[in-house]
């Protein structure tokens, strides 16, 4: 099928205003939220903006006929290159499918289209005493479809779990264009938990066209505490002792001095400028439970050497304390023109030494690294500051991230806690997974998508897919025995 014919057929499906194909219109779709250099950019053949599941299905069937890759896209805030069409083809942007179709109070569920923005869902149900628990820092922009594909997390996932814990079922378009509803473990359900497989599959198994999500009741009481420390080590020891003493705060976030320097002048959240680190600790639940745990956590912070403690009970005070955390990335522009936001995860007891390692890596590569992260989960976000215009800066952050990933894996950590593998960390997969592990993952991909149509060149390194193994084998035969396949 030639390009012209493809564009005409696509237009027939989504209408004139539902397609982008001029180079200047495609430019923005070459990127997602990740750093150019850590992730390659690539241009799609066309971008389509469907309004219904039927349209998505028709697009996928057409792509199959034209033998073109298909890449789903939400808001494009992903940080691992997931929404970039590495091998070109058709980008399906789900942003026009943005309706909340049903909210049911007895079921505590919402049926939503994939383009619904994360925060808008929570805002829409707050009056009814509910919220959607996964709250990525990008929640003002990112979509539920993107959250599902990346299995996204956020500050409140410490207590409430990540996206996969809040998805009850998905309507997906399969790579052959068929539409199915997936289900999940439930009494009376006798089938595989396809929902578990699709959440976190980075758009490689199916395109999410509807999601049935769980809504969580807003707790009766909430208190946010700000604890300041004289050293990073004291702060991370406080984290360990709070968790070890049997407390499960709703969230437990850390920001280091460099972050405070960026945030405080911009948002006046009340973080002490001279603190080496602050912890933002939110406790929620039954009022009696909250009052007692706040007392206990305060004592543990003091024991760990907290230099000041403040707590906020009213919504306005809490919002102010949170504002600094939520806007931290936006404030980084005050410190440097560019930053590379990393995402790794270690067992929480290894946090103190890992933070020391991050400092050592910063020194070694002569980089400024700010830390603002989900400390309670051991989920680090070292933020490397740089200036793209300076020769060598991009290379230095890439070398530093190489060292960082190796160090985290060395202490029992993994490649990514919430941003996904995409293309950014695809090359690192063999660091934590054996050939068999990768073959098992490739097997699951193959079951959903035997033609490798959806989001190719992501997650699984080259060489593990069934077809690729055959190809490598044939190459070897050719080299060794001069046998050429016909």
């Amino acid at each position: 099928m030639d390009r012209q014919q493809l564009l005409e057929e696509l237009e027939r499906i989504v209408g004139h205003d539902g397609i982008r194909h001029r180079p200047v219109d495609l430019l923005v779709y070459e990127y997602d939220g990740s750093v150019d250099g850590a992730v390659d950019t690539a241009a799609p053949t066309a971008v389509v903006l469907p309004r219904s599941t039927d349209q998505v299905s028709a697009i996928v069937k057409l792509a199959k006929r034209a033998d073109l890759p298909v890449v789903a896209r939400g808001a494009g805030t992903g940080l691992s290159g997931g929404a970039v069409a590495q091998r070109g083809g058709i980008i399906v942007s789900l942003t026009r499918m943005d309706r909340v179709l049903d909210v049911n109070l007895l079921d505590r569920t919402a049926l939503v289209e994939p383009g619904v923005i994360n925060l808008e869902l929570s805002d829409g149900v707050r009056d009814q005493g509910l919220f959607f628990a996964p709250d990525p820092s990008s929640q003002k922009a990112c979509t539920i479809g993107g959250n599902v594909a990346e299995n996204s997390g956020g500050p409140h996932c410490l207590k409430y779990g990540v996206t996969t814990n809040h998805i009850l079922g998905l309507e997906i378009v399969l790579p052959n264009g068929e539409v199915i509803w997936t289900r999940t473990a439930q009494d009376g359900y006798g089938g595989l938990d396809l929902t578990a497989a699709v959440v976190g599959s980075e758009g490689m198994f199916g395109i999410v066209t509807k999601a049935l999500v769980k809504l969580t009741p807003i707790p009766a009481a909430t208190t946010v505490m700000l604890a300041a420390f004289g050293s990073l080590d004291d702060a991370s020891r406080a984290v360990t002792s709070i968790i070890a003493a049997g407390n499960l705060p709703a969230s437990l976030e850390m920001m280091d001095n460099l972050t405070i320097q960026a945030v405080e002048p911009a948002y006046h959240a009340g973080y002490p400028m001279d603190a080496a680190a602050v912890l933002l600790i939110e406790s929620d639940g039954h009022p009696v439970e909250v009052a007692e745990s706040v007392e206990e956590i305060e004592a543990l912070c003091r024991e760990a050497g907290a230099t000041s403690l403040r707590s906020a009970d009213t919504a306005a005070e809490r919002d102010l304390l949170w504002k600094g955390r939520k806007m931290a990335l936006a404030a980084m522009g005050r410190l440097a023109p560019n930053y590379y936001l990393h995402d790794t995860v270690v067992p929480r007891s290894r946090l103190p030494e890992t933070l020391e390692t991050v400092e050592a890596i910063a020194r070694h590569h002569k980089l400024q690294i700010a830390n603002v992260f989900h400390a309670g989960d051991g989920n680090l976000h070292p933020l490397m500051l740089f200036d793209r215009r300076k020769p060598g800066d991009v290379e230095r952050i890439l070398e530093a991230s190489h060292d960082l990933i190796h160090e985290c894996v060395r202490v029992g950590g993994m490649l990514s806690g919430e941003h996904g593998i995409g293309t950014e960390k695809r090359g690192y997969m063999t660091l934590v997974f054996s050939e068999s592990d990768l073959r098992a993952m490739a097997g699951l991909k193959e079951a959903f998508d035997p033609d490798q149509r959806f989001n190719p060149e992501k997650v699984i390194p080259t060489g593990y897919m069934c077809g690729e193994v055959k190809q490598l084998h044939l190459q070897a035969m050719q080299q060794q025995h001069g046998i050429v396949p016909v």
Partner: protein, 402 residues
């Protein structure tokens, strides 16, 4: 009806009506990989088993070539209280796990029937969801990694020992509830939680199931931190049982407001009594496999109508019903000869759009009523996953419609 059309004279009966020609035991993942690779090559069918508490669940099949005993695959591989993570071999019993965690002041927040024999591998494989799903979730929410051997003998791992992880596809959660039809788990990694300092349950009495379910819905809506809420109808009449866990002060205050909201209080159970009550509640449906047990799932908004209609059919007999209105689960136990009744309930549920799983039944009923209910949507994808993981189709025939 005759027990079986197969000659089982020399076979081992692994569970009622479930046979294998030979039983083998494995004690390591690599031995298991060799075994399954050879079994695939020789086209030998295999039924892996742990505590055998759920082994009779499934469509009737011919005797398997091998029963694969995993109860020797035991032991804790790593437990870091400060990390709240645990890695344990799949044949380890729940009781052993809870004991080890208890020493660190931690637990798995799930209630499991017969923990002394039930294995963690069997629990993950069967994917049962208990009453605590309302707030603490189920085992699925606690799974962070596993090692497994696919039907074709590929030994692999997925996930890790960190509580938050998106490195690669989510195979561990996907294997939850797969009934060992794709792979045999050799170890699982779990997120554990601090042990609740206090535990309390309030029991309230009602005149009928419909009113009890309405009251339960009201209670759940009013109490965001309620741990579990179950409606039962059995020999003891109709009851709502509501549970609270946490610090002592909060639990006591919660039980007060539960009583007020429900407008009834039959009993108040504290700490050990409360824990024992919930253990007993889950045991009740799993203890006697001569009874017929059906599990039904429906949307919470539909569960009242479904429960009421089932209540009409079963009125006056020895049946017992357990409903979790908060997440739409209903379990019904009918007396030994309740075969017509079970068939009737299934038809009734189907008319309401609810699916069922026949968890326990006589061999005769199992041959007439499919265990897994209606064919699930996406069956083609499920079958192609089965072909990838177990290309020889040797694992757990009759379990899951794949």
């Amino acid at each position: 009806m005759p027990m079986s059309i197969h000659d089982t004279t020399n076979a081992h009966e692994l569970a009622t009506g479930v046979f294998a020609d030979e039983v083998v035991a494995v004690e390591s993942g690599s031995r298991l990989a060799d075994f399954l690779r050879e079994a695939t090559a020789a086209n030998h069918s295999v039924i892996p088993f742990g505590g055998r508490r759920s082994l009779a669940t499934g469509n009737p099949t011919e005797p398997a070539r091998f029963g694969l005993d995993l109860t020797g695959l035991t032991g804790i591989l790593s437990y870091e209280p400060a990390d709240l993570t645990l890695s344990v071999r799949a044949g380890t019993t729940l009781a052993d796990i809870q004991r080890a965690l208890g020493e660190g002041g931690q637990e798995l927040p799930i209630d499991v029937p017969f923990p002394d024999v039930t294995t963690i591998g069997g629990l993950v494989a069967t994917g049962f969801v208990g009453p605590r799903r309302l707030r603490s979730g189920s085992l699925r929410d606690l799974l962070i990694g596993c090692e497994f051997v696919r039907g074709d003998g590929l030994l692999a791992k997925a996930g890790g020992m960190v509580v938050k992880n998106v490195s690669g596809f989510e195979i561990p959660r996907f294997l939850h509830g797969s009934w060992g039809a794709l792979a045999v788990l050799t170890s699982v990694n779990l997120k554990v939680t601090p042990m609740a300092r206090a535990d309390g349950t309030l029991l309230a009495a009602f005149d009928d199931v419909g009113l009890a379910i309405d009251a339960a819905h009201r209670l759940i809506a009013a109490e965001p931190s309620i741990e579990a809420c179950v409606v039962t109808s059995d020999r003891d009449g109709v009851r709502v049982s509501a549970r609270s866990v946490g610090r002592a002060g909060a639990v006591a205050a919660s039980l007060d407001s539960f009583a007020q909201c429900l407008g009834s209080e039959v009993a108040r159970l504290e700490v050990e009594e409360s824990r024992a009550f919930w253990r007993e509640l889950v045991n009740q449906y799993a203890e006697d496999n001569s009874k017929t047990v059906l599990a039904l799932g429906a949307r919470p908004r539909d569960i009242r109508a479904l429960a009421t209609r089932i209540g009409d059919v079963t009125a006056g007999d020895e049946s017992a019903i357990q409903v979790s209105p908060g997440f739409g689960s209903l379990r019904i136990m009918t007396p030994t000869d309740g075969e017509d009744l079970a068939t009737g309930i299934v038809a009734l549920a189907a008319a309401d759009g609810a699916n069922y799983v026949l968890e326990s039944a006589s061999p005769a009923l199992r041959s007439s009523l499919p265990t897994w209910g209606a064919e699930p949507e996406g069956i083609e994808v499920m079958r192609s996953v089965k072909r990838q993981f177990d290309p020889g189709g040797i694992l757990n025939l009759g379990r899951l419609p794949v």
